[in-house]
Symmetry: C2
Subunit: 128 residues, 2 copies
């Protein structure tokens, strides 16, 4: 993995949470595993749009920090399944809260962002 040149803020809870969940596709991957889509190839199929390589990288990072772990079955051919660790499970409510907030306000956010250039201020308009 890329060796960071600028140290991270590892003592701030918020920074840690964002580090864990902030990757572009991490939350989706966690959601897959939560729903039982646990094999690498299955996750790849579930997320057609995302390059398998990327998913593997994110899986590895999630594994590194102990959010998921890998179970390797000594079958032939070898089967791999990812599962949430207890700490990974504890993250689910956090994801839910974020998801709910985002769903509740995404229209507002997107509208503002889109209208910003045109000089509108949705916030003020909503205040009426």
């Amino acid at each position: 993995m890329y060796q960071k040149k600028i140290p991270e803020l590892l003592d701030c809870g918020l920074a840690v949470a964002i580090k864990v969940i902030g990757g572009k596709w991490k939350a989706w991957i966690i959601d897959c595993i939560r729903r039982g889509v646990s094999r690498p190839s299955a996750i790849h199929r579930e997320m057609q749009a995302v390059n398998p390589r990327i998913i593997n990288l994110h899986l590895k990072e999630l594994e590194e920090v102990g959010i998921i772990y890998k179970e390797i079955f000594a079958e032939v051919p070898a089967r791999v399944e990812y599962r949430l660790t207890p700490v990974g499970e504890s993250l689910l409510p956090v994801i839910d809260v974020m998801e709910q907030w985002g769903n509740a306000h995404k229209d507002y956010i997107n509208r503002n962002h889109a209208d910003y250039a045109s000089g509108n201020c949705q916030f003020l308009q909503e205040a009426n």
Copy 2:
């Protein structure tokens, strides 16, 4: 601002939440404003380690999506204060949840991350 070449996922609540709060210093900036540190120069002082230019960029992005808004006092010299919009206020509990989760698990996360190279698996060790 940089013009994105790859479209974002604006219909997913999680993506929206991460977009809003995922910036490297956005959460700290929101925290400043929440605590009443609302003037640009005051925020700069509060976050010595971060380049003022960056803070300005993040402020602008937070303003663009309607999380904060700018109040410009017609004084001389002009005074500027940032405040949270209602939607910005609604984000605070989400930040708190993330912060709490991070604080509760940052040791576990950091330990795992640090030990990963050495082959230890903190998750399994904790399971004992």
